[in-house]
């Protein structure tokens, strides 16, 4: 018997995230390690009256191919595979590696050529229902430095929840943020102020990423000032930066350092003009994610954290910054962090001010939530399978 939480995960992805209905055709991408979840997805898709195909994304198969193929071969993404995605009504991709270092001996140039060709997938997915999710594997548990059993508990406590109710909770913050002109964040070695005037904050509540749970916005590119310290490690294409500290003036990074990997950080900030400006402020809201596990699908949604990304902005929130990079850096807020909107502290001591109010309302509020459902559509900023 499979873990009953696997079936629940499949129900959430098929019915809540992707809204699969009769006659739909679903493309599932997964590795063999995700067999339990794919079996459960197949049953749920079958019950919905839809059809599907499973493509095997086993990393050792792709490693063998990329090592053997020449640059000409790698640079063209097969149009037939693109057509498969274009023809899909929904796409479900499942992170489920058997070894997170399987690409370790592939020449970076080849990986880049293949990744660039794979970028064509982004266009094929435009406007479609799609979801990026994760099935717990031993390799992911190891990356998180956890036992497999504890890692499974961690994954399902992030995924299995009342998403409609959670979306409604998060919309309280996104609506406050939409009305605010400035955001100030203080905390350990941090005092930074951003303008979000005229921008459109979004709630990410599980349609494109599962788990999800963040409110995000691209700040005004020229109006970021102050200092920020990111206590959690930054992981970017296999490189790691610890204890990053950035100072901004008029929206640009004017000083950077890190406890480890400071040179890497400086190199990244020099990639292009946009690399020195903020593309995103995100506020992690999923308290089912209570620790850093070196997987950005989970890490950026961690409850009681904020993250900022230098580089590419999200146009759907009003952002205009362009860059080849988008590097998320995460900061814990629980102990000493405070978030001010237009000078008013809306988050401090590990709580949003309206949480007190809500918990006072108690049962009344719970009953209301279950009727209200999702009050606001989720944004389209999410990890993509091709990221």
């Amino acid at each position: 018997m499979a873990d009953p939480r696997v079936a629940e995960h499949a129900r959430i992805v098929v019915n809540y995230s992707c809204k699969i209905k009769r006659g739909d055709f679903v493309v599932i991408g997964a590795t063999p390690e995700a067999r339990e979840l794919v079996v459960a997805l197949a049953a749920e898709i079958g019950r919905a009256g839809a059809g599907f195909v499973v493509t095997d994304m086993d990393e050792s198969i792709h490693r063998a191919y990329i090592l053997a193929a020449d640059a000409e071969t790698l640079s063209s993404f097969p149009p037939q595979e693109l057509d498969l995605f274009r023809g899909a009504d929904a796409i479900i991709q499942v992170i489920s590696p058997s070894n997170t270092h399987e690409m370790g001996d592939v020449p970076p140039m080849k990986l880049q050529v293949a990744a660039r060709a794979r970028g064509a997938l982004g266009g094929a997915m435009e406007g479609k229902r799609w979801n990026l999710t994760l099935h717990p594997t031993k390799a992911l548990a190891q990356e998180a430095k956890m036992t497999y059993e504890a890692y499974c508990d961690f994954v399902y406590s992030a995924i299995i929840r009342d998403w409609a109710g959670f979306a409604s909770e998060m919309s309280v913050l996104s609506e406050r943020l939409a009305k605010a002109k400035s955001v100030r964040i203080t905390g350990e070695r941090t005092d930074i102020t951003l303008s979000v005037e005229g921008r459109r904050p979004k709630v990410s509540a599980g349609d494109h990423n599962m788990p999800s749970g963040e409110v995000f916005v691209s700040p005004v590119e020229t109006a970021v000032r102050g200092d920020v310290y990111f206590d959690l490690p930054v992981l970017y294409q296999g490189r790691e930066i610890r204890g990053a500290q950035l100072s901004f003036r008029s929206g640009r990074v004017v000083k950077s350092s890190a406890e480890e990997g400071g040179d890497t950080l400086k190199d990244l900030l020099e990639v292009d003009q946009g690399a020195k400006r903020l593309g995103e402020l995100g506020i992690g809201m999923n308290r089912g994610i209570d620790r850093f596990t070196r997987n950005i699908l989970f890490d950026e949604k961690m409850g009681d954290t904020i993250h900022m990304a230098v580089g590419r902005a999200y146009p759907e929130t009003g952002g205009t910054n362009k860059s080849a990079i988008h590097i998320d850096m995460i900061k814990s807020m629980k102990e000493t962090g405070t978030i001010y909107l237009d000078g008013e502290a809306v988050y401090e001591k590990g709580r949003f001010v309206w949480e007190e109010e809500r918990s006072r309302k108690g049962l009344e509020s719970a009953a209301q939530r279950s009727q209200t459902g999702r009050t606001r559509g989720p944004g389209s900023h999410s990890r993509r399978p091709s990221d």
Copy 2:
């Protein structure tokens, strides 16, 4: 390190069977159990400059889907999946079950509906390069009542050989058969005569099935007479018949019996008008296959056997018989079997007459073979992935 025979198997399928070239797009169907072979196929396809996608045919995924879906859902094959096959230049399907009984609790009606819908795949593969092959799994070893190590040895001794040379050897028989009017087969409880006048025998030498190794022809439907005894078990859609004995007059079965499953045999012969006539005479030529392993991809190519199928004929050999069934029944010939063409014994005591001649010519013949290559195109009768 993978078994080096796996890489050799991949080279044969990609380069000899499917002739993959730069710019081709290949659809591979396999289960996770075939990972080693799929990794090797990916490398070989990459070296050839082609692209590919792997679809996961794990039987537990399909079982879950078929159990959950209703008949309406199962009866329509997704056009998008069909398009994937239509868009492919070559299709490689790998038999690699983790449990040969995984479909055992699926209602037969549902399996039939799904199989009928899947029939659409046949049309999509028309005129394409395709190959059906097998990767050794524990489940297949168990079905063959062998250890896994011995089963791997068995599989690779059938697959890894000089296919061009073997094709040339088999063409000696097919050319003799093409000139013959009648075939008489005698042996244990057997004396049967078939007309093959005007028919076009074919060589199956590895393009569509790997392993392969048979010469086959559809006999004249009205001109089969005598008795034949099949000592090897007949397997048809999970049903088993042992020791089948058939008597023919004017091409029709007039008497049937079996040591086990005689009623099943009688039922099958009543399916339709064509079920009582021979659709195929096949002569197994692959001596790398030296035992019965309950897998028809291998069994029908076993060296020193013949097989006959009641039901559907192969039009490409001139056959006209139509039926919903095509049931292969296999007979060992090594000990007591003789094959006569127009009265001349061409096979007896486990040898074809020209084998003596060839082995006398020794090195000369070997040199000749390697230059001649394939002298005759293989036929298109082969196990299909959708069979």
